[in-house]
């Protein structure tokens, strides 16, 4: 991305760059372009905040040890039988 492209950045471009930015993969011009875009684009500001919010909740969900589902009894029995065979070997 050259400086000219960075200055006329679209919302679509900005949303990709917002993603890339998370791992520090932005070039200098991309960074400037994204910053400028966010200065005048309220929709993208709101959008990125929402995406980050979603990401945060997914991570929390992944780390929570709350039970959301358990093995059903038949599968568990089947699994035990198969595993017992293995243990005997």
């Amino acid at each position: 991305m050259n400086l000219f492209e960075a200055l006329k950045m679209t919302c679509k471009d900005a949303s990709y760059l917002h993603e890339k930015k998370k791992e520090g993969n932005l070039s200098f011009t991309e960074m400037i372009g994204l910053k400028l875009h966010l200065l005048y684009c309220g929709l993208c500001r709101m959008f990125f905040k929402q995406l980050d919010e979603l990401e945060k909740h997914t991570q929390r969900f992944a780390q929570s040890e709350k039970t959301i589902a358990s093995l059903d009894a038949t599968s568990k029995e089947k699994m035990k039988k198969a595993f017992e065979q293995q243990l005997k070997k």
């Binding site: 679509k12 993969n25 929402q50």
Partner: protein, 198 residues
């Protein structure tokens, strides 16, 4: 029994002790019961075969989860190399992403009126730790296509970085960013319908 309990492997008790824990862990990341059950079973088998390599400093549970994590990555890698992901290349049109942005000349690439972001309801923060929220989130994650859910899950739930994910799934960096972006758009759309705008 001798010595300190937690550093001894007791395979005969694994399924009772950890079956549900491992299943719960898997189903959060792969929303298909049969697949999750298979991965849990494979984990116990692999762990048993590898029991010699168990480090006594780790707990049984941590060790089993580490093995399961690898199984989950392998599951997504297999999906990916069975051509489900690699057909998606840089040049293919990303229709889902385009659907959000205006294609009309003049305003191309900016928010289409019909899909422009909207404010979420003010009180959404108060209930995001509820079971209901988790159930909806899980359901929406389950609706992601294979391609997008592989990238999204490995990044946000398994904590791999983008380089590792590209290597595992054999995709290019630009595929990665597009897929990740698409995953978030899909997830956001589903969550808005069912939660944030309700």
């Amino acid at each position: 029994m001798s010595f300190s309990e937690k550093n001894i492997l007791e395979p005969e008790k694994w399924i009772d002790r950890y079956g549900d824990i491992l299943f719960n862990y898997t189903i959060t990341r792969i929303n298909k019961r049969e697949v999750a059950e298979d991965l849990v079973q494979e984990t116990f088998f692999s762990a048993y075969k590898a029991r010699e390599s168990f480090q006594q400093e780790a707990s049984e549970k941590t060790w089993l989860i580490a093995i399961l994590k690898r199984k989950i990555i392998d599951h997504y890698r297999k999906k990916s190399t069975q051509n489900e992901l690699s057909v998606f290349d840089k040049d293919s049109k990303d229709d889902f992403v385009n659907y959000f942005f205006d294609k009309e000349s003049g305003n191309g690439g900016h928010w289409a009126d019909s899909s422009a972001p909207q404010e979420w309801r003010k009180d959404f923060q108060t209930s995001v730790e509820s079971d209901e929220f988790n159930a909806i989130l899980k359901n929406c994650l389950g609706k992601l296509s294979e391609k997008t859910s592989a990238v999204f899950t490995l990044k946000n739930m398994e904590d791999l970085d983008s380089d590792e994910i590209c290597k595992e799934l054999q995709i290019t960096a630009s595929n990665y960013w597009v897929l990740m972006h698409r995953a978030k758009l899909q997830l956001r759309e589903c969550m808005e319908k069912n939660w944030f705008l309700k």
